[in-house]
Symmetry: C2
Subunit: 425 residues, 2 copies
């Protein structure tokens, strides 16, 4: 009999009816003899409601004192969820107890609104499990060394669940969400998209960071670091399907590069259009120039994703990168007013109407010609590639955003993702 | 410069706009140089919303495990309030920090839903005050020795505020509420009712317990025990009135029986129609009979208020008492099915359509004829008295409920409560 962690998202906890159905599902696992820990999110809409109230009252400058209060307020959403779920389980006749992060305790650093988990004291939870109780722990939050409530940032409940699983050395961590697994790409764009039965940890990291919003990326990193077997599955299948069937559903994120995975060169196609590209042209080719360009951008708390610098010509080069689209105007302003004069660049140009499309696959490591196959497929559709970056397990291109759907469909077909590889069938 | 505790009720915290106005009021006191601790309730409606969700999911039998979860859920309402108020104060430029009960900590026993405060560690709050911060502490809740969140029961925030004031040896505890003080009786029934500038602690206890729902009775007991000067005043006066004027408004609850108070024989008229009367007739007059009647009632968790037993006649007596009206049917059933046969009583009769009207005044101790004056006033209105009980500072009568308003008005007039006594003018 295994130790299992379940995580339920806000939609799964969205009403008392839904919470009752979560309780019934957990009760089924408990009755099958498993020791159960459950990490639920706040009821859907609740965190936004709380932050909305707080933002109406906040001082303009978000000092650490204000962020501390924001975290204390936001954390109550999950504190309500755990209590309600414990009651629903008790009503099912299953002994259950809930804990807020500070009660476990889940110790974090003091970076309010984006705290990192430092340590989990699992003794209290283990004692409850030994006593036959289902233990329900708040996601998204912890307590710092000074006794302040902290939150882990948006989507942090995934990370909480994986961290609990790591601390307890759980046999598996099941993330119940509103999709039934990880797909080769978004089925809304490619109807032939296929659910993957397994995906490697590295591929999942790339898929998540590239906009396949199934799992929070930090939770995947955490799972990788502590080798927590992680499964993404749907909370919308009826709670009373057979446990064996449920336990094999969804997508399992694995850590071994077995033969099965080698067969799929490309696991999936990721994409997003949340970015904008910026090029600083005619940059003097001298040491430190990249820092002079990106240093001020980082100081302004603007995240940079793709960065490209090609070889210099006549002592000058062009430097390009992408930023979140909603930071585009601020970044352009910063570069034109401060960076361009400081480094003597010829011009700063930008375009917010771009998209990024990536092929992701651990098989790329050992197969040459994968990128070429990608570029050919795009060329056959007449799509111009604006920027290219590659890593060991992914190749990304930046395109005019109007080509996004066309490019994703062409690549899905080119890499034969519509039909399952034999070993994965 | 004094140490002042403010307590704000749910209505005062009912919206972000209201919270901003609470912050402005507290900021005014802070700027006048006072060290400020604030205890706000949950936003109005919030505790009911949370308990409503919980009750939909609760098991039928409310075991301690379920009550623990109920408390954890209900306590979040105040945790939101304190964070929001801290933000609003910071936005006013006033350094502020919020604490949940467990962070102070406010230590309680483990009686979930009706916990009692055992001890408050005031060191952290004192340090913040010394650092110039306004300290905002959740009402209604604490933490037990096992680290569980507990709540003090309905209206518990008044008690939290008084307990904080006692622990900090505050100069005054101001309870801001939706009425502007304690009145000689309910102005909705007697338009001439007059606000009392002061009321003695004992009188306030009787007024509160008799249904003048201005303050939770436990908070008054607490204030009496620790001699915390307590003032009830309105949170609906504009926040920017002069501090001196505000500080002298409302009603001050005092502990010294000074001359001023001696002058008012009766401080006020209290009443309620939330009770029902029950009489057990033809009860054998023998030792232990009161326990045989009321023991089963207490076991069924039915509160008993007035109890009357007159002298016996021919070895038989009648035993009467009042219970909350919503427990009337349950109490009658219990008495008829179990008590009557067990003790061999002749009959059990009841009437839920009654009211209780009381005159309350510390001056009654030293003035004879007060009760007689009460009975004469009622008799002049043709009102029949069904039951009478007296204590040192109050006399209560039970009447047909249809006479309630008439009786209250007649008594208000008979004791000249419409016109202020000279020393209180």
């Amino acid at each position: 009999m295994a130790l299992i962690v379940h995580k339920y998202g806000g939609t799964s906890m969205g009403s008392t009816e839904r919470i009752r159905s979560v309780a019934q599902r957990v009760a089924k696992w408990r009755r099958a003899g498993h020791r159960m820990v459950v990490v639920p999110s706040a009821m859907s809409g609740e965190t936004n409601r709380l932050l909305g109230l707080a933002k109406e009252l906040m001082p303009h400058a978000a000092a650490p004192e204000a962020m501390r209060e924001l975290d204390a307020v936001a954390a109550t959403g999950e504190q309500v969820s755990v209590g309600l779920l414990a009651l629903a389980l008790q009503a099912e006749g299953v002994p259950a107890v809930s804990y807020a992060g500070w009660q476990v305790p889940i110790e974090t650093d003091s970076a309010f609104m984006k705290a990192r988990i430092r340590r989990i004291d699992e003794a209290r939870v283990q004692a409850d499990l030994a006593a036959g109780k289902v233990v329900i722990v708040t996601g998204f939050q912890g307590i710092d060394a000074e006794g302040n409530v902290t939150t882990l940032g948006r989507g942090g409940s995934d990370t909480s669940a994986v961290a609990m699983a790591a601390a307890l050395e759980a046999d598996e961590c099941l993330i119940y969400t509103d999709v039934d697994g990880v797909y080769t790409t978004d089925p809304r764009i490619v109807p032939e998209a296929r659910r993957l039965h397994t995906i490697s940890f590295e591929e999942m990291l790339e898929m998540a960071s590239l906009g396949s919003k199934v799992l929070q990326i930090r939770s995947v990193e955490f799972a990788g670091k502590y080798r927590v077997p992680l499964r993404v599955l749907s909370s919308f299948t009826p709670w009373d399907i057979a446990l064996d069937e449920e336990a094999a559903s969804g997508t399992l994120i694995t850590f071994e590069e077995d033969e099965k995975m080698e067969q799929a060169i490309v696991a999936g196609i990721a994409f997003n259009r949340d970015e904008a590209k910026i090029s600083v042209l005619g940059v003097p080719d001298r040491p430190g120039i990249a820092f002079q360009i990106l240093g001020p951008v980082a100081e302004a708390n603007i995240d940079v994703d793709v960065i490209i610098q090609n070889i210099a010509n006549d002592g000058r080069t062009d430097f390009s990168f992408t930023v979140p689209r909603n930071e585009y105007l601020r970044a352009m302003d910063l570069l034109r007013s401060r960076v361009q004069p400081a480094i003597g660049a010829a011009d700063v140009r930008g375009d917010p109407r771009i998209c990024k499309v990536s092929i992701v696959g651990i098989g790329m490591k050992s197969h040459s010609g994968v990128a070429a196959r990608m570029f050919r497929a795009l060329s056959e559709e007449g799509i111009n590639i604006q920027m290219i970056t590659t890593s060991e397990i992914k190749t990304s291109v930046v395109l005019d955003e109007k080509y996004m759907e066309l490019a994703v469909r062409a690549l899905h077909r080119a890499f034969e993702l519509d039909t399952p590889p034999r070993a994965d069938a």
